[in-house]
Symmetry: C2
Subunit: 717 residues, 2 copies
Amino acid sequence: MSENPLHLLMNPQSIAVVGANNVPTKMGTIQALSILKDGYKGKVFPLHPKEKTVLGCKAYASPEDLPEAPDLAILIVPGKTVIPLIESFGKIGTKRAIIITAGFKETGAAGQKMENELNEVARHYGMRFVGPNCMGIINSQIFLNTTVLPMDKEPGLLGFASQSGTYVTQSLPALRKRGIRFSKAISLGNEANINIVDALEYLGEDEQTKAIILYIEGIRDGKRFLEVARRITPHKPVVAQYVGGSASGARAGLSHTGAMSGPDFLYNGIFKQAGIIRADGVEDLYANGWALATQPPIKGKRVGIMTNSGGPSTTISSVCDSVGLEVPRFSEGLQKEIRKHLQPHASAANPVDLTFDVEVQKLAIKIPEIMMNSGEIDAMVLHGVMMTGYLREIYPHLKEMAGNMSLEEFLKFGGPVLPETFELPRTYNIPFLISSFFDYEDCYTQGYLDNNIPVFPFPEKAALALGCLYHYKQIKERIPRKEEALPEINPLAADIIRQAKQNKQKALDEHAAKQLLACYGVPVTKEELAETAEEALAAAAKIGYPVALKACSWQIMHKSGKGLIALNVEDELQLKKEFQNIQKNAGKKTPVLVQEMLRGNREFLAGITRFAGFGAGVVFGLGGVFTEIYNDTTLRLAPLADVDVQEMFADIRARKLLDDYRGMPKVMTDKLSYIIRTIGNIALLYPEISEIDLNPIMVCEAEPVVADALIVLESKP
Amino acid sequence: MSENPLHLLMNPQSIAVVGANNVPTKMGTIQALSILKDGYKGKVFPLHPKEKTVLGCKAYASPEDLPEAPDLAILIVPGKTVIPLIESFGKIGTKRAIIITAGFKETGAAGQKMENELNEVARHYGMRFVGPNCMGIINSQIFLNTTVLPMDKEPGLLGFASQSGTYVTQSLPALRKRGIRFSKAISLGNEANINIVDALEYLGEDEQTKAIILYIEGIRDGKRFLEVARRITPHKPVVAQYVGGSASGARAGLSHTGAMSGPDFLYNGIFKQAGIIRADGVEDLYANGWALATQPPIKGKRVGIMTNSGGPSTTISSVCDSVGLEVPRFSEGLQKEIRKHLQPHASAANPVDLTFDVEVQKLAIKIPEIMMNSGEIDAMVLHGVMMTGYLREIYPHLKEMAGNMSLEEFLKFGGPVLPETFELPRTYNIPFLISSFFDYEDCYTQGYLDNNIPVFPFPEKAALALGCLYHYKQIKERIPRKEEALPEINPLAADIIRQAKQNKQKALDEHAAKQLLACYGVPVTKEELAETAEEALAAAAKIGYPVALKACSWQIMHKSGKGLIALNVEDELQLKKEFQNIQKNAGKKTPVLVQEMLRGNREFLAGITRFAGFGAGVVFGLGGVFTEIYNDTTLRLAPLADVDVQEMFADIRARKLLDDYRGMPKVMTDKLSYIIRTIGNIALLYPEISEIDLNPIMVCEAEPVVADALIVLESKP
């Protein structure tokens, strides 16, 4: 495994900056200042064609003039100068670059051409780069910040790989209010060279990074993404937002970073397969990522809620339920102990409600400690701790009464901040989240934030974050995946495909498709192909009535509603009539498939589709009449291990149908799993197959059998 | 219609405050200060047993000593003094009170008793009150604030009825950052007297209030709630959060305000029926309520997005799609016009991306005006306007370069704030929302906030709020509801129920249930009751084979899986055998229902259940095998108009099944609607019926027929 290109790029000993000057409104200047002022200790070389010094540093006219080859070059320059500059840096031996400049692939064909040339030049010199069309990077460990906004001085714990520059820069002031700080952040831009998978891999290996968040408009290398993410998620949580799955999202992404997006259900499936937690918005991405980065693992689902106010605790309780957590009623013993510290009318049952009271000792220390010490909770949310925030609010009203004392004096009324407040969660090592309507404006919320205890501005948000911790517990506990060896090419199956290609078929007919499936042990209907009514009669006699008749030709990919199928054919007489009917409706002599009439009690579907960059996606779900009603399907990328399929079973809403249900026996899920894994393998073995569609897979008593099958071949010659 | 009790309570000419003194840490004192300092112009009379003056006002020892009967008494006193005080105020003629004091119903039986007594006393004197166990009220129009935190000086537009006091007090600092200001807010507490329906009605009539939000833990008078809300929502938007629908939420609410909650699907149905938009959390409640209160109605679904940054605009686009809005690609003509103002590589297609640029003139005025003027959009989101917020951020880096000028001087670099920025949306009268990572810390976001243009801290939130505006457009456009007259009591139906009650039955048997339904024209299976095999044979001969046989006794409410049903009985021989089988499995001689064997292609369900305070809830959804798989049902309160049922049809995910689908004809929805409305009416006519369960309603070709029916009678004697 070659070293990740970001190791060097994120940790340069020396940096050349091209595009900064001494004019403070210039973006390049502002970015150079971020490097110079935020605490980076390496060497910084500004390049400028005319200036002797830039921002107080000696400036150099060109890369050739530099005293040494810098580890990293940062380019904030007009588009047409990018390639020559990269070439010059390449020549002197610089191996990493960040290209901020926009106007490449995201603008259309001409930009794409320029981006290709850029890539060529970089490859020639073995140079790896981030961008173009990006905002650069942050490495808080070495205080390196190449973006347009200053970063927080205290290094953070959250790693971020983003296909948006804004989300690592413009958002910094909003993040600061929530105490959220990056360990490393990478704005990837057009990903001409280094892409989000490289960034994910890098953050996965980075020790400073305790959780990873991803903002995704489209992934170019889906297979590697899955492989890398799957390596990381068992030991480090990953949260991702994906916005390219809708029509407008896809179009906006394309014009933003030239991202090629894919359908939402593809990404949904891959995230699940990889053990990535999906976020619906960028707020949740940050907030839940930060909770995961800062909090110890949650060991169970029991949440304790401490509050001085019933509304927030009721909201938190309600949302906890909705994310699979519990707010257990405390044991009588624990309630008794808690009640000692409460007003007589206050509730000790959980939520524990102090009722309106700003006394920190009870609310934030004494009672929480009793709760944590009880063994009755696995996580805790605390709402309502406040002191200077509250005092500042009421100061205008009380000022006169307080002898017109200054605000500063008045704020001292709350007494000194009690440091135990912030030590408590560490002592008991359980997740501990704060809900508060204050952020840095209160001495206690400030204390929590500074101690990496997340403070959520609305109560439901704290519960949602706990839900995320609980979700990650389930990801960590996933059964390890054992990938099986691919089966071999089967001569008969290969022959079926070869013949079809020779005939210039765009698909296999149903019978051929099932024969191919049968080569790999997939259970299919008993059936025979009949060219004439006589052959059909003979076949039916062999199979046994009732039978189904189906026109069978690769050209008829979708047979239903056209009079090309006859079900429940009871006897010879009916068979002859239906055979003729099908011939008539087909409009020409067409072979007919005589098929056993399955008596199923449940119908599922399975299939494969290919996605550029991702390989074969295997779909499983509810089949039959309800297929388009509920769209109850789930996807994973091939190859599938049995655990993947078990998770697919758990994904669908109709999962109860797989069990014994309303007198129907439990489905033989081992056989069903075999079918699903096998079509994934077939897709990997035969690249000529572009699509497989098994619908329905009929469950006969308990046994799944493929009742209909479509295999589409690649349309490319 | 009697006047709403809140008219006087919210607009008192004079207020007596009991529980304030001259000690600034006392809650009563802080609340009295809110009244005295926030600008209220009426008379304020503190009551105190000893003090001569309280907070600079002359104090009175008791109500009897007051110079006049105040319009409103506010009590922040120990629990045991509440009732005597209310009595005293009643005697002098005070007609309204706010009881802040807690320790009543929410604490259990003793508290409930005290609350009942309190109610008795108040009723005796014709006094109406809010509370107990509440935080009081805010009427920003007359600058009256009885809560523990100061309110904003500028009157607001958003009305709030809350079963949490915190959400009208503790949250004020958080709301201020978002520019959200209440018109009127009412913390309802235990609702011993005035309840949330009164508050909703009051806010509906209040002209200052442009949109209403509700925080609900449980509604006591569900019928009136629906009636009142239904009157309001066609002309004023209502958003509600309900948190009592889960186990923990219900328990927390009970100990908070003694609220009796109901299942989530009940509230979901009522909200839909009433035209109330549901919010998942309190943040969305405030934010979306504020957008609805401040923005003009949205006329269509086309959203224009203007940005200086691709990430937020892609996020906004993606979320717009998910809430039913569109981000249309602009016409070539419009793009051409916009492109004049853009960098060559920037996108003009929508989202319009200026790329990183803080020039307000283009970003916030010039291009938005072109967009609004084009007629190609119905609403707009703008991301990225910033000036002093950004300058403040980069100041530490640029300070030295700028000759160590002061921050104040530095902030002037952006030039004066351009007032056109805030006038623009008013000129074009379309919804206009801001996405920004700054709040009051930037001169532009501040300007927007002060001009009632909502600023959302994360881009997805702006899109979600637009989705809410679009949702409200659909609510306003609902077909007006015409309620039909209830049918009359049917003598045969009444007799069936009377007989069952005489027999002390807890339910009707299937046959009796269907007879009752048939009295009201509900189509049911052809069937006859047979006591003997001979009777069964005769019945089958009349009905025609195949038939279904079912054990028929009110004691067997759920027949499946017990060998008490035989389907597809083909002939006499089989009938005799199955008849005996059923007798054997029943364990005693049991009548058997001989029923036509319906050939259905789709199965639905309908039913009614009663909920305390709400009357009869009518449920409709997918029936048959998939009932418990997808729980795809929806609810409305009886009586139902046809439009209610049409909305129920649109609610279920399987709505496609009602149409022509996969060769099946469109369901006769007029007949299905009739069945659903009729069981609602039957529930209203016969209070003895506690539950009706029709599952399945089989669709035969296109025609719905009730294939199985259960009618449960009230278990009360």
